[in-house]
């Protein structure tokens, strides 16, 4: 019995390794095809980004990689929402972006346990419909403290599809 369990464990490990190699291989192949099909302008933009990336501090690279992995694990709907939010954020006037940053600083200054609690509450809230979340947002103290202009910005950013 123990021998069978050991064989099964070994087999599982080998299978896992094989799957990982195959996934990496598929990723590399896909990236290579994308790279080869890029226009010279796009390639030079990527090379420019590559140089900046290489010269950036390891912490930043680490953060970007972590964010990339987080994004890859999201559901298609959530990815779409974040992409849309990013576009809205990018299209903001510098003053509008600064306002968002100021508000975001509040989160950065929160004690870790409070941050964890908010994260957990956010995960629970994610299951709610957009309509419910919007209502909750409009009932919140955060919303009441926003100017009309800010309300427009955050409405687009918090629920992009609205």
């Amino acid at each position: 019995m123990i021998r069978n369990v050991l064989i099964a464990c070994m087999a599982f490990f080998v299978l896992l390794q094989g799957t990982h190699v195959l996934a990496e291989d598929t990723k590399m192949r896909r990236n290579k095809i994308i790279w080869e099909s890029m226009s010279p302008e796009e390639k030079s933009r990527v090379i420019h980004n590559y140089r900046e990336w290489k010269s950036s501090p390891p912490q930043k690279r680490e953060k970007v990689r972590r964010n990339y992995d987080t994004f890859s694990d999201l559901s298609p709907e959530e990815r779409l929402k974040l992409r849309e939010r990013y576009r809205n954020y990018k299209n903001l006037e510098p003053a509008g972006r600064e306002k968002v940053r100021e508000r975001l600083n509040r989160i950065g200054s929160l004690p870790p346990e409070r941050r964890v609690e908010i994260e957990q509450r956010y995960i629970r809230d994610r299951e709610r419909s957009a309509h419910e979340r919007m209502k909750r947002l409009q009932d919140s103290r955060f919303w009441n403290n926003l100017s009309a202009e800010e309300k427009e910005i955050f409405k687009k950013l918090i629920i992009p599809s609205n």
């Binding site: 190699v21 994308i34 990339y68 974040l82 939010r85 990013y86 509040r106 955060f142 919303w143 950013l157």
Partner: protein, 178 residues
């Protein structure tokens, strides 16, 4: 007929299943061959020993017990065969994948169509590294700001007191209980 054929025919000879001519041939052979005679005698003694045993009826209860254990034995028997076979198949499949991956990895490490141009033009660019991180490099700004983009959702929650959440949970619990 040689000794080997004769000895093979002896059980049938003792059971009376042979033709008259075969019986005659065997009996003539046994008169002149000591070895075959011994074999014939031993065979006869064995049959005799078996005949003197009485047939014993198996008690009904024992029979039922044996039969009731049969499916269990069968159930225990199958995993013994199926598990190692399945494990072996998985190992073979895993090894195939791994070797296929290694082969492809080697292929990927081979230069892509115009590598010389790229490395000549951009000697500081490691093309394999660039290809591995391509999605990040294409969209670095997006991934750099991803954390903040997610955190925007936290903003309405920051001002909500912890107590309020507990109250909500309690009130929904009350609703369930009533």
């Amino acid at each position: 007929m040689g000794c080997k054929t004769i000895q093979e025919m002896l059980p049938a000879y003792q059971d009376g299943e042979l033709s008259q001519s075969e019986v005659r041939d065997i009996e003539e052979h046994l008169l002149v061959c000591d070895a075959c005679r011994d074999v014939n005698r031993e065979l006869k003694e064995t049959w005799h020993a078996l005949e003197i045993w009485d047939d014993v009826d198996v008690p009904e209860r024992s029979g039922k017990t044996i039969l009731s254990r049969l499916p269990e034995q069968r159930r225990m028997y199958w995993p013994r065969i199926v598990l190692p076979v399945a494990a072996a198949l998985v190992i073979v499949f895993g090894m195939t994948l791994k070797f296929a991956g290694m082969k492809n990895e080697k292929q990927i490490q081979m230069p892509i169509p115009a590598p010389a141009q790229l490395s000549a033009e951009y000697p500081d660019v490691d093309e394999d590294e660039l290809i591995a991180d391509l999605p990040i490099l294409q969209d670095e700004e997006f991934y750099d700001s991803l954390e903040e983009l997610v955190e925007i959702d936290y903003l309405p929650l920051v001002d909500e007191p912890k107590q309020k959440e507990t109250d909500r949970e309690r009130s929904s619990l009350d609703v369930i209980l009533t």
